[in-house]
Assembly symmetry: C2
Homo-oligomer: 201 residues x 2
Amino acid sequence: VVAYHHGDLRDALLDAAETLIRERGVAGWSLREASVRVGVSPSAAYHHFSSRDALVDALSDRVLARLGERMSRAASRVRDPAQRVVALARTYVHWAVDDPAVSRLAFGANSAPSAHPHDVLSVELARLGTRPGADFVIWAAIHGLAVLLADGLMRLDGGRAVDREVERVVRAVLTGLAHEGDDEWPVPWSVHTERVRSRRV
Amino acid sequence: VVAYHHGDLRDALLDAAETLIRERGVAGWSLREASVRVGVSPSAAYHHFSSRDALVDALSDRVLARLGERMSRAASRVRDPAQRVVALARTYVHWAVDDPAVSRLAFGANSAPSAHPHDVLSVELARLGTRPGADFVIWAAIHGLAVLLADGLMRLDGGRAVDREVERVVRAVLTGLAHEGDDEWPVPWSVHTERVRSRRV
DNA sequence: TGTACATCAGTGAACGCGCGTTCACTGATGTAC
DNA sequence: TGTACATCAGTGAACGCGCGTTCACTGATGTAC
């Protein structure tokens, strides 16, 4: 006999949705199916989420926050400031490669989790003393690698190959940033962070 | 009185689907709705496409091929080899920014159009004489910029800001590639191109 | 040039399906006295 | 400790909807003689 009250239906539904997305892609799940997996009627979800969309938002918040934490931990295990950036970038890219569907969900999100990946990156770049705006260049580079691999547009065989490619990209960008003439990087931009990362010039 | 035979229903359906996607997002269209737009019954589409998925594939082929052509043209208008790369990268990123939903469709495609963006890029890098594998680093960087902007995760206000950011990214990567020690780029990889771009190491 | 006929490219009704969401309900839990 | 009752967290039936796809059909077009 199963308890009438589930206990933690909210998290259970998020888990079920995450698993379904992992198995069948971003569009391959429904509220009904997640409910069935958890062993609950479809209407039960509405005691925890106002709509299907609300559930998606909650899920991508959770996913992005976890990624941010993993990146922080990866960086903290390394001494050299440049290698810390490499380490965090590797975590970012591997995560997208290993969990492409879920990462696509997270990248498409409207959310602002506590430990946003971009924040983690910025902290490390501050340690390194890169010039203002460098965060956006590096973020673009590793994000590009991540989504090209996750979407299957680029393919690298094996985790070691991914590791190497991430290091190449990060080092090329860091080196390039260090050698570029200052005239290419005029007045410091006013960087301001809101719901989305944005910069007005 | 409208002709019973449409004349070019195939292209008309592709156009309608493209417009709907542009207006309402990748998931925001249906075969039925596209048919209505064209003024034709839902079943007519099946004389031109075996299924909805087949239509999507055809559309993303067309979209990617057009992008490749635009990139070629943009590069051909410039002399300096490095600036040619900047020009083509700008086209790539602007296209994603101006048409985010359609670009998302194309990036998610399983297709291999004639003038693939990556091919266009490779041609220009050959002119520049960059080391083997540089194409993947630059592609990652501009693709990252493109999707971050298209997905609204990064925001730059105005086309000029986008132009400048693209140039910064491309130049940083090119400079970095030129200054990196050769030990970072060991044996030339066996780069081979198939349906997806891939590299085995 | 005219006729017969095969083929092409549409129509429109119908199908079954799974979806998100609502509603009145009920059993379980927590709290006040 | 026991009882009354409000609140919480489920049920399950029902809703309307738009979807992709099929089918038998028919009007228009192109070809052979």
